[in-house]
């Protein structure tokens, strides 16, 4: 009975220990050479620029459906003109960061885990080390930097197109005038909301990429193992996004509001 509980606990503790070791080593690597600048630029493109389409589409339709749904509810109170307030507050504080995070987990987290996992099972990681390159500096650091810096940029883009999506629905479906909508959008946004909308994706971006790198680099079991690692990166990354969102929100509310 004891071993039934002991084994999973030991495995979980080992995973946490390895995750902490990886992230610590990656953060420490930022402050000493060599820095692989070319790889950093490449990852900013791969993680940031190439995720733009999926993030914009998600943001747009989320904002649009939010306006549609909230329009029905607000009608019950005769408050249809404040639909912009609801869309902007929801997008900037919550849906923008979380949905961008989830989209990034699906697109970027799975890709990182599959790529690094394949490199592990084909001995390419060992080949890198044999050739004098630290895989953490070469593979993990550029991805983490790209995750941390590009997630907020993508979130801002998703927030904006989400509010635009909401405006299209408000204007043409709910018959709310553009002036009313946009002034409602701006009135509801406080500086604390904007900070929350910018800080959360930084943490989420870090978590998505670090979890994916950790899972990818611990891949074993050949091509089947790569498949398992990819699935695990998406599942663990998605859960982590939601959990981190809760804890960061709780922290920021206690600090800023």
């Amino acid at each position: 009975m004891l071993s039934f509980i002991e084994e999973p606990l030991k495995t979980a503790a080992l995973e946490v220990q390895e995750y902490v070791r990886l992230t610590t080593a990656a953060i420490r690597s930022l402050f000493s050479p060599p820095i692989y600048r070319h790889d950093i630029v490449e990852q900013f493109d791969a993680i940031g620029v190439r995720s733009l389409t999926v993030v914009l589409l998600t943001g747009f339709f989320t904002g649009a459906v939010l306006a549609l749904q909230s329009g029905l509810t607000l009608d019950q109170f005769g408050a249809r003109p404040v639909v912009g307030r609801l869309v902007s507050a929801s997008m900037v504080k919550e849906l923008g960061p979380v949905l961008t995070g989830l989209m990034l987990t699906g697109r970027v987290g799975s890709g990182i885990a599959a790529e690094l996992g394949s490199m592990v099972v084909t001995d390419q990681i060992n080949a890198l080390r044999a050739l004098g390159t630290d895989p953490i500096r070469k593979l993990v650091v550029p991805r983490m930097l790209a995750g941390v810096f590009m997630a907020p940029v993508l979130t801002v883009a998703a927030d904006f197109v989400g509010i635009v999506g909401g405006w299209l629905v408000a204007r043409f479906q709910l018959q709310v005038s553009s002036g009313v909508y946009w002034s409602s959008v701006l009135e509801s946004l406080y500086i604390q909301d904007v900070w929350m909308g910018l800080i959360k994706p930084v943490v989420i971006g870090f978590v998505i990429v670090s979890v994916a790198c950790h899972v990818g680099l611990r891949t074993s079991g050949g091509t089947e193992g790569v498949g398992r690692a990819t699935t695990l990166a998406v599942v663990a990354g998605s859960v982590a996004v939601i959990a981190v969102d809760f804890f960061v929100t709780r922290l920021l509310i206690s600090l800023m509001y």
Binding site: D123, R129, T133, K138
Partner: protein, 261 residues
Amino acid sequence: MIVLEHVSLAFDEKVVLRDVSFTLLSGRTKIILGASGAGKSLTLKIILGLLRADGGAISIRGQRIDQLEEADLMEVRADVGMVFQEGALFDSLTVRENVGYRLYEETDLPLEQVDSRVKEVLGFVGLSEFIDRMPGALSGGQRRRVAIARAMASRPRMLLYDEPTTGLDPITATTVDNEIIKLRDLEEVSSILVTHQLRDAFYIATHEAVVDQGTTRIVPAGAEKRRETEFVMLRDGLLVFEGDADELRQSQDPYLETFLS
């Protein structure tokens, strides 16, 4: 010179290496033979510091490497190249970038010099025309030869080969064997070769490269040259034989006789 003293390794209950000791002298070749799972490839990874042994000492050119940190091992690895099973070429890089990887990424050499060295080593392994190909467009034998070119590009004094001919047809395997012989005899690279391909092991041990009127030829080796290549046999993690090709052939050990038959 590489020295292993009483090296042992185990994964949980499974003991992989038990008290393994041997020495590779400069300019010599050591061929590690053994059945699958005997601990041959792991021995190479331990020598390069890619894996930590549970016990024993490993020295490269007089320096203990088994207790070095990863960052310090990078300097040691500059002197030791490794050819991995299946090549382990970087899929996303061209042959040129793979071969010149260490020089492009880890040194400050001017690009022209790196390019020139890449062309030189690709010429050495006879793959100059494949310089801009991606690894996916190469055959198995070509991938191994590119891996050899990558390992030798930074002029290491020692090379470790992990099953360099496994899975290749005999003709392609001989081409790879010839590259190993040329590196040993013309570039004076010390090497440890892990294999269970007896034909290739004996071919490497009994042939030498000579330059005759500007042309490199592979010919049967003289007695002295043959003694420069030694065999090590691992069985269930234990070193059960060490000696040259002739001693291996003459061994009366039943396991060795079965293995060689």
